[in-house]
Each structure stands twice: as structure tokens, then as C-alpha cells.
Amino acid sequence: MQRLLNRPQDYVDEMLDGIYLAHPTQVKFINEDKRCLVSSKTKEGKVGIITGGGSGHLPLFLGYVGEGLLDGCCIGGVFQSPSSMQILDVTKEVNRGAGVLYLYGNYGGDIMNFDMAKDMAEMESIEVRQVVAGDDVASSPKGSENKRRGVAGIFYAFKIAGAAAESMLPLAEVERLAQKASDHVRSMGVALTPCTIPELGKANFSISDGEMDLGMGIHGEPGIKVDKLKTADEIVDEILSHILPDLPYSKGDEVSVLVNGLGATPKEELYIVFRRVANVLAEKGISLYNSYVGEFATSMDMAGMSISLLKLDSELKNYLSMPCSTPFFLQNQI
């Protein structure tokens, strides 16, 4: 894999330099720590929402900081958690008197550091609630949903919670809606190639030519099976055969669909995937409210994609449809 970089150890910080230079009016950093990113637009009296996690997943996590979405993000090294102190500092910065919601993916290191930051923030009399997203059906069976990893479906929890906070709802309501969105999402993906961590310089796992890893996680966590690479339609059918019965999504339901590229898959292929998803949903009598096709949670240079479905009701639809604007994601009122 040939890459564009300078010194591998500068990978994350130089990426951040570029982001601040490109989007100076929308985001900034605090405490002279580039890895503590906050929105320039957080309103007074609004609930602050913070996310965080390792680098290597753009536009996750920091790409969702902006108007109508999140207020702060703590950034770790590639696939590494940020520290509890960074989270505490961003918490203090985005607290506008209405408390702060931590909304992040279900990974041990992140949980430990967000938990710690919550304890410290409460010592400073800032009210903090947490919602931990885990939407990957391949990572743990039905019945033990709380062990599932967070993948691209967290986008929906960001979107719903962000719109709820922007609507000036109180912390308990923003928390409830983030949890509700998270509870209504299921995702699963397929990896066609491994990903490389810049400082290692090579992949620390492999996928053979002509094979795919079905259900692989966004850090290369093993999926549910390694198989010969099949056609796009066959892969979609297999992924949907895991997602649809899990919630379940049934005839008459209304959904939003997100097809996410993992980093090295062309948008052309994502639309080939989306085409099949839309056809299958139509066959099953599940109606499609709206769709997102592109990169939402990547894994460096991994090829492959994931599919996420959000089951909607009028409340979720209301917040999903609201506008938002960040350096990485723009949506007009639907």
C-alpha cells in the first residue's frame, strides 16, 4: 500500500492541522491540544454532546462536530482511545449550563476513559449522561446486544441526538432520544482487504485475494465467516439476512438506510450495493424514507462496506429530517 504521509508518527496531528486550516470558522481546539476539537457554534443553554475515539475512521468521529450535530470530540491515535483528561477538558468547554451527553461506540478503552471523565466532571458539578452505541449485529448475537461493537450506525444516534439538542431539549430528553436511535439501528459490514496502521506500516491481519471477511469490525476484528468473494447482490442479501430478522424490520416498517464505504471502495460500488438494498426492502414491503450513501465510518484503507438500517417512527423522523452542517456533513431540511 502506497500512502501520502510525512513521518508516520505525525500522521494524526498533521491530519488535524489540515482540518483546522481548511475549516477555520467551524471548528477549533482548546488547551493548545489539537486532539480536543470543539465546535465554534455551540449555543448558550444547549445540551453539549461529545464523542470521541481513535483516529483512522474519518469522518467518524470529529467530522460530526458542528451545527445541529455534536459540540466536541476527543481524538486518540489511530485506533486508540483519547484520554479521560482530554474528555474532561472538552466537557468543561462545551458545557453551556444544560449538561453534557457522551455518545460513543462500545469499545473497552473508550468506555474506561469516558467513565473516568464523567466521574471527574461530576466532581466539578457538571451533569453528564452517557449513551454507548453498539449496532454491529455480527459482533455479538441477539440477546447480548450490549456486547455489540459500535460501527457506522452511530451516525444515526449522532444525527438524532444532535437535532434534539439543537431543539433545546433538556439533557434527559437528548439522552433518551440518543438511546432510542441507537436501539433502532442495526448494521453489518464486509471487508475485502485489511487496513494498515501508519505507525506499523503494514496490516496486522490478512484477507486473502479472492476472499472476504463477512462481519469484520472497523479495526479488523474478525467477523462471522471468511468466504470466497461473491457478487455484490449476493453479499447484500447475506448481510440483510442477518440485519432484517435482528430488530426485526418487517413489512410496513419505514426505514432510513445508510451504505457506508470503509475507505478504499469506490462510490460506484456503494451505489451498486444500495440498489440491491432498496430492491430487497421493496420486495419485503419495508418503505424507504431516505438514504445516505458514502463514507461515514471508515477503517483507513480497508476496502468493503457496511449497511445500516434505522427503523423510524414519527419522533425519530422529525429529528432525522432536521438540517445540520459540519465540515464533513451537510444536510438540508428533508
Binding site: S83, S84, M112, M120
Partner: protein, 211 residues
């Protein structure tokens, strides 16, 4: 008086700092064989800053003093082990809020809270070959000694012996946490470096309690 004074608690943190500095190279060596290799550096840096803090602080509430020391530790050492030690100080501090000295029972609570803070944060159990495997037997020994009505100095000595035994026991434990997991059976025969850090802490506590 059979209590732990503020001065003794400050001495404990300073002695821990001195010990971590003294053992730095040994910890680095042990950790490099099983993990990142930075444990010696992070522990000496973390306790170094924590001791500077407690020496300069005028806080008389021991709970607050411990919690603030934990915050200093977390800021100095952003790694997993740093967060775990900081969590221990926060939890132990919470239990000691409002106190200006610790009775023998208060000290036993401190020891239990200290290891609980780490177990809750890191989700490790006894027998997973971590720092818990020295801190937990130390806390048990301290509690038992406190129930027997022994002096603070004797209780701390028993706790240190409990920790030492705990470190010894890790030599036959398989790693279940962190990068060490990848080393599996290769870890056998060596003490766990995290458990050793726990032992040094009780060595420091015991030495400050003898005065």
C-alpha cells in the same frame, strides 16, 4: 495515636514516587517483554507529579487531597494504567471525604476502595494477572489485621506481605488483559509488572506508617 495522619499520607505518596523512580528500569524491562515498555516511565512520572502536588497542597480534607492527586495523576499519565491508578485515588478519596486522619478501619476502607476503583474502571477480576492481584490480597490482609485490632504500622506491614504474596502468585497466572494476552504462556514464571506496581505502593504505605 493509632491513626494515619495527613503527613503520613503525604509521605506515602512521596515514598511511592521515590520507589517508582528507583524501580523504573526494572519495570521498563518487565513491561517491554509483555507490553508497551512504558510502565516504568509512566509510574515514575505519575507519582512524581502526584507527590509534587501533595507536598504543595494545603488541602486538609484527606478525601479531597487524594481525589485531587488522582486528577493530577490522570493528567500526567493518559495511558490505561494511568487512568486506572487515578481511578483508585478517586474512589479511595471519595470514601475518605471529610476526614483529616484515617483510623485503622478507615485505612482498611481506603485499601478496599483503592482496589475497587481499579476493578470497576478496568473490569478486571482477581486472577486475571493484573495490578488487582496484589492490591486485592493486600486489602484483604489489611482488613483482617484491622479486625484483629492491630496497630496501623502492623496492619500496613501485613498488607505489604499480602501484596508480596499476590505478586508471587501472578507468576502462575495467564494474562487476560491488554497486550500481554498475546504472550499467553510465555508470561508464566515472571511476576506481573502491574501487580508489582501494587506491591511497591504497599511498600511505600508500610514504610510511611512505621514512623
Amino acid at each position: 495515636m493509632n491513626v494515619v495522619t495527613r503527613k503520613q499520607l503525604v509521605d506515602f505518596v512521596c515514598e511511592a514516587s521515590r520507589l517508582m523512580e528507583e524501580k523504573k528500569e526494572y519495570l521498563i524491562e518487565l513491561d517491554a517483554a509483555m507490553g508497551d515498555g512504558d510502565l516504568g516511565l509512566t509510574m515514575s512520572a505519575g507519582f512524581g507529579k502526584a507527590s509534587e502536588f501533595v507536598l504543595s497542597s494545603e488541602e486538609t480534607d484527606l478525601g479531597k487531597l487524594l481525589m485531587q492527586a488522582g486528577m493530577v495523576f490522570a493528567r500526567t499519565v493518559p495511558s490505561t494504567m494511568g487512568t486506572l491508578i487515578a481511578s483508585a485515588f478517586l474512589k479511595a478519596g471519595k470514601g475518605a471525604l471529610g476526614k483529616t486522619e484515617l483510623t485503622v478501619d478507615g485505612l482498611a476502607c481506603f485499601a478496599q476502595d483503592f482496589v475497587c476503583g481499579i476493578m470497576e474502571r478496568g473490569k478486571a477480576q482477581r486472577g486475571n494477572r493484573t495490578i488487582v492481584d496484589s492490591l486485592a490480597p493486600a486489602a484483604d490482609a489489611l482488613q483482617k489485621a484491622a479486625k484483629e485490632g492491630l496497630s496501623v504500622a502492623e496492619c500496613c506491614k501485613r498488607a505489604m506481605e499480602g501484596a508480596a504474596k499476590g505478586v508471587e502468585d501472578t507468576k502462575s497466572m495467564l494474562p487476560a488483559f491488554g497486550r500481554a494476552v498475546y504472550f499467553g504462556e510465555k508470561a508464566l514464571g515472571r511476576p506481573d509488572q502491574g501487580a508489582l506496581v501494587g506491591y511497591y505502593l504497599y511498600q511505600a504505605l508500610s514504610s510511611s506508617a512505621q514512623e
